[in-house]
């Protein structure tokens, strides 16, 4: 719509408008970080919006008196393992979707689309009973299995989209040289799609790290909980201890921000190819 080119005054008006909008939109996050440096008493008594007398008391409390590091460790294990499993499975399936046609492929692609819309609670009820008999409740394995499958649709589509950008001629050349089809995939296509697979991995990691519902159903023991579930324990136990809650939330969000910066240039790609194209 930028036609004809707008004057510089108009551009800077828009710029300041966007600055204000961005601050308002992110106010909950900004306030959370600021509040984490205030004790709960200071928070309750405070009458100004900006904090005074910053303190790290909340962080010290988090470190010394709570299971916070256990939660963080659990989150990293669960997210790390499910990222690897789903990326591996999705890379194979994505290659099939990218290079082959047929009834099986169409049917599978449609099934993926439907699974993405599936109310996960439906699978959780029977799986809860099954996992209990298998002794998997409170085991990271339960959540890892679920995350691997939940990530499959979007990871497969993203993988397929990356493979589509790699010219077939490269594989054809390898086939002529006597390489098998699968060999061509492993030796030619996979090494070329490193950045793409990394992006898929980061997306999966972010989703698992942020996920609450599934973890909340399967991880009921303090030692097994991931961060999102662990923080709800804080919320119930110390319902008014806003200081430590804000500190816990702030530390939780740091890995999210770092990973997000790593994939921000892929993000339109991921959102559009995963959600919309189907």
């Amino acid at each position: 719509m930028a036609y004809p080119a707008p004057s510089s005054r108009k551009r800077w008006t828009l710029f300041w408008l966007l600055v204000v909008i961005t601050i308002i939109v992110n106010l909950p996050i900004i306030l959370m970080v600021m509040n984490s440096f205030q004790t709960t008493e200071q928070l309750v008594q405070r009458t100004t919006i900006l904090p005074r007398d910053l303190t790290v008391a909340n962080y010290r409390y988090l470190n010394e008196r709570t299971h916070f590091w256990t939660f963080l460790w659990n989150s990293f294990t669960v997210s790390g393992v499910s990222t690897i499993t789903s990326a591996a499975v999705a890379a194979l399936a994505g290659y099939a979707l990218s290079r082959f046609r047929g009834r099986l492929i169409t049917g599978y692609s449609r099934a993926l689309f439907v699974v993405q819309m599936f109310p996960i609670i439906l699978a959780l009820i029977p799986l809860f009973m099954l996992f209990r008999t298998l002794g998997l409740i409170n085991s990271p394995l339960s959540v890892i299995i679920l995350y691997t499958v939940v990530h499959l649709p979007f990871a497969t589509w993203m993988a397929r989209a990356f493979f589509d950008t790699i010219p077939r001629e490269l594989e054809d050349a390898a086939l002529v040289d006597g390489c098998s089809r699968f060999g061509a995939f492993v030796r030619i296509v996979l090494p070329l799609s490193g950045p793409g697979l990394a992006a898929i991995g980061i997306f999966s990691f972010l989703f698992s790290y942020n996920e609450f519902f599934v973890a909340n159903v399967f991880l009921r023991d303090q030692d097994a909980m991931t961060l999102p579930v662990g923080i709800t324990m804080f919320m119930q136990q110390y319902s008014t201890d806003w200081g430590s809650l804000m500190a816990a939330a702030t530390v939780t969000v740091i890995p999210t921000f770092i990973l997000f910066l790593g994939i921000q240039k892929w993000i339109t790609y991921g959102a559009v190819s995963g959600g919309v194209k189907g």
Binding site: P28, Y108, M117, F118, L127, I145, T252, A271
Partner: protein, 305 residues
């Protein structure tokens, strides 16, 4: 077990042809898909069928119940909890879709202009979407928790009396919807911005040559070009909102007095709170049925394109 004794010859030819099929290129797509198909069958299809059966039983989490036919579904239709959850799911989805589409489109149009540091704004405005649900709800709750919380201090500055956002039914519904809009508009913004950038510029040039005003350019060029993607995005967002557990659960746990309880929360409460697996499964199946109608519309839309 086969009826007639198997001849050694039979098995070897069977094995040989299987081996040949595996070696030939034809088996590759199947082998590539095999791990994902196995996972989907084990973790989605099998539980779904079992869950469908549970919907017709009176079981608890601890022991399998007996078959009771349509009892659970009949109980649901008579329960005010269920009708309320159905209504709230609808309200929640409708207001969220309208809200986050309007906000997303507005911001996408702004970001589609030539603005200094546009890339920075595009990233900064995505933060509400990527922050874990628990983190955003903690800070929103702090802002609206009680009569001394930030929002009430601001209302007090203007001389208003405090609002009990989380303990008043209507305000709690409004709060859940507002926070859901805040969490989902970035997806709309991002996708609509990508669509806006895909519109052929020569269309605007032609419209400008014909003397169309900025508003008419928007009305007759931008809107029709965005129509298809908008319908798909709104359907997707509806499905995701119906499926949302985190926002209402973490903010209000469905309260006060079940006011903000949607179908997913109800299924969760019946199953894990009241230990009634039959009723919980029945609620999840109703949710699935509603969503499948939306999915079919969505698939048909996409085939048209």
């Amino acid at each position: 077990m086969s009826v007639r004794p198997m001849l050694a010859d039979d098995t070897t030819t069977w094995r040989a042809s299987a081996r040949e099929w595996l070696r030939s290129g034809n088996s590759l797509p199947f082998l590539l898909l095999a791990p994902s198909i196995f996972l989907m069958l084990a973790v989605i299809a099998y539980p779904m069928l079992t869950g469908f059966y549970y919907g017709f039983t009176s079981g608890s989490l601890l022991k399998f119940g007996k078959f009771v036919g349509f009892d659970n579904y009949i109980r649901l239709l008579q329960s005010t909890d269920f009708l309320h959850a159905l209504w709230f799911s609808f309200i929640f989805a409708a207001f969220n879709v309208i809200g986050c589409f309007a906000l997303g489109l507005g911001l996408a149009l702004l970001l589609n202009q030539e603005v200094p540091f546009r890339g920075f704004f595009r990233v900064a405005l995505l933060l509400p979407w990527i922050v874990p649900s628990i983190v955003s709800i903690v800070s929103w709750r702090w802002m609206m928790a009680d009569q001394h919380a930030l929002f009430n201090q601001i209302i007090g500055l203007f001389g208003g009396s405090p609002v009990y956002f989380l303990s008043d039914e209507h305000w709690a519904i409004a709060a859940v919807i507002a926070i859901k809009i805040w969490r989902s508009f970035p997806f709309m913004m991002l996708s609509l911005l990508a669509a806006l950038q895909g519109i052929d510029r020569s269309l605007y040039e032609a419209a400008a040559l014909d003397g169309a005003s900025r508003w008419n350019q928007f009305r007759y060029v931008t809107m029709p070009q965005l129509r298809n993607i908008s319908i798909v995005l709104c359907l997707l967002m509806t499905i995701w909102t119906v499926n949302d557990f985190d926002t209402p659960w973490l903010l209000t746990q469905g309260g006060p007095a079940n006011a903000t309880e949607n179908l997913v929360l109800l299924a969760y409460r019946y199953t894990f709170g009241r230990n009634d697996v039959g009723l919980g499964s029945a609620v999840s199946f109703v949710t699935l049925a509603i969503l499948m109608v939306l999915v079919v519309i969505l698939l048909r839309r996409q085939r048209e394109r």
